[in-house]
Amino acid sequence: MVGGSITAFLLLCALISLFWTPGEVYGISIATRFLPVSAQHWLGTDQFGRDILSLLMAGTQNSITVGVVAVSIGLFAGVGLGLLASARRGWTEELIMRFSDFSFAFPAILSAIMITAILGPGGVNSIIAIGIYNVPVFARLTRGSANAIWTREYVMAARASGKGKFRITIEHILPNILSILIVQATIQFAIAILAEAALSYLGLGTQPPHPSWGRMLNEAQTLMFFQPMQAVYPGGAIALAVFGLNLLGDGLRDVLDPRLSRKR
């Protein structure tokens, strides 16, 4: 419930910021630097004279884009591989699982570091890196849950009636693991937002002048000692988004899979 409302609130912020923000996001104006909190600038302005509230709102867009794209990459490739592993078994499964095993040694940040070292820093590259990190996560989850479904009686019955593995996968396996995937997707969404913020904070992710929460923290850090609040807001926004998504994930789990939630 709470998770849902926080997520909805952030979506709303992103939507509004597409059309309107209370202040300037891209323009640089020395005249309006470091303005304190006022009726016009609710959270003040930064060292480039941009309105902090507007930046936060526009940053929501960025985080949501990153989350959607990175999770989609993970979902498509990961679920595909997981379903394949589970349908084919044998060496295909072994190969896919071993591969996802050692990719676990590379968290999003590390793979992003490698990728940006080659392709150079940038928003798109960081999204790809986070997306790639999501692939083994979903591949493992999909395979694990799909294997459990393959042993069910109705799947046995479908196989006995001569249906092909591909058809069974589409008709029986996928619908049955969907709720687990949705729950995991929310959690990965939160992780993606965190990872993107970290990369942008390090200067490897979203590049200026695009607004991004991680970027804002990076820019605020040099001024940390005399403009501390400027560093506090964007981190708060990240924490709020991640908190909301995690709660949403828990809530969805309760709704979609009561059996799982009871175990927790």
């Binding site: 050692f102 968290p107 570091i113 070292a117 923290l217 940390m224 981190g235």
Partner: protein, 316 residues
């Protein structure tokens, strides 16, 4: 035990080998020419060709891979493209910061997780349990680098208890260094500890429902003794599993948090290397980080066997 140990050790070597191959493929074979990257787009073709030969990049990939690996086995990580000094010189000092920081954060997060998790489980469904779990949910959501900023603002700037950044070096004395590591370690440990605390709590509660707990109670052990003597050890298995899985994230976190504290650890080494397009340094540092993760998980595997005698039997 020795068969079990040997088996796990083989897995460790295989994983390391796999990791080195992945790193090599990503860094050296995928499109992207280090010489071009180093010299920039305006560089002439001759200059690029010259540098390529100089760096030995014109040799076959397989040869370069084996050179790298055999070099590592002999303690030679190659020379930095940017500084022309051995890579080892660049990373040696960094390791002395990153490794202690990672260990300290690990210790802190496990301590935090055990205290909070056990306390919450012992007060299951009471107000203290519910509020602790609420706080831990928040703790999971906080980006560690932001927490680091907040910690600096409060404990270093306001209270002046700890330095706001930098690292004095181990020659300056043990405690000064630990003091410098405390804030970054806390920033890292809070998130990890919050995750582990939740796992600890649910695992303890799960084990409390097991039949052997009832046996222990039927012997006349109190709830508290049962927790310490029978539940704790059994409940550590999932905690250790997650600890192993989370270690990679913890390490990634050190890369970032070091940066917040301006510490010359592996994080800043690798970031500088990226800016200098010094791929060989990036390669080696990433492999080192991967190796730490793999070794940690090896230790976790051994811990499993120490905790649960059934596992040894399975594997032999």
């Amino acid at each position: 035990m020795s068969v079990f140990f040997a088996k796990r050790f083989m897995t460790l070597l295989a994983t390391l080998l796999g990791a080195s191959i992945v790193i090599f493929i990503v860094m050296e074979i995928l499109p992207g020419d280090p010489a071009l990257v180093i010299l920039g787009v305006e560089a002439t073709d001759e200059a690029i060709a010259l540098l390529t030969t100089e760096l030995g990049l014109d040799r076959p990939a397989l040869e370069r891979y084996f050179d790298w690996i055999f070099g590592i086995l002999q303690g030679d990580l190659g020379n930095s493209y940017a500084y022309k000094v051995p890579v080892w010189e660049l990373v040696e000092g960094a390791l002395k910061i990153t490794v202690p920081l990672a260990i300290l954060s690990m210790i802190l997060s496990v301590a935090l997780a055990l205290v909070v998790g056990l306390y919450a489980a012992a007060n299951h469904n009471k107000a203290s349990d519910i509020s602790l779990m609420g706080i831990s949910q928040l703790g999971i959501s906080i980006p560690n680098f932001w927490l680091a900023v907040l910690l600096i603002l409060y404990f270093a700037v306001n209270l002046r208890w700890f330095p706001a950044g930098g690292f004095p070096g181990w020659d300056e004395g043990f405690w000064v260094c630990i003091k410098a590591l405390i804030l970054p370690a806390v920033a890292l440990a809070t998130v990890q500890g919050a995750i582990l605390a939740r796992i600890t709590r649910s695992s303890v509660l799960e084990v409390f429902r097991e039949d052997f707990v009832r046996t222990a109670r039927a012997k006349g052990l109190s709830q508290r003794s049962t927790l310490w003597l029978h539940v704790l050890r059994n409940s550590m298995i999932p905690v250790i599993t997650v600890m192993g899985l989370q270690f990679a994230n913890l390490l990634a976190g050190t890369v970032i948090v070091e940066n917040v504290f301006h510490m010359p650890g592996l994080g800043s080494t690798v970031l500088k290397a990226i800016n200098n397009r010094d791929t060989i340094v990036v390669e080696n540092v990433v492999l080192m980080l991967a190796a730490m993760v793999v070794v940690t998980n090896f230790i976790v595997d051994i811990l499993y066997a120490v905790i649960d005698p059934r596992l040894k039997a399975h594997d032999i």
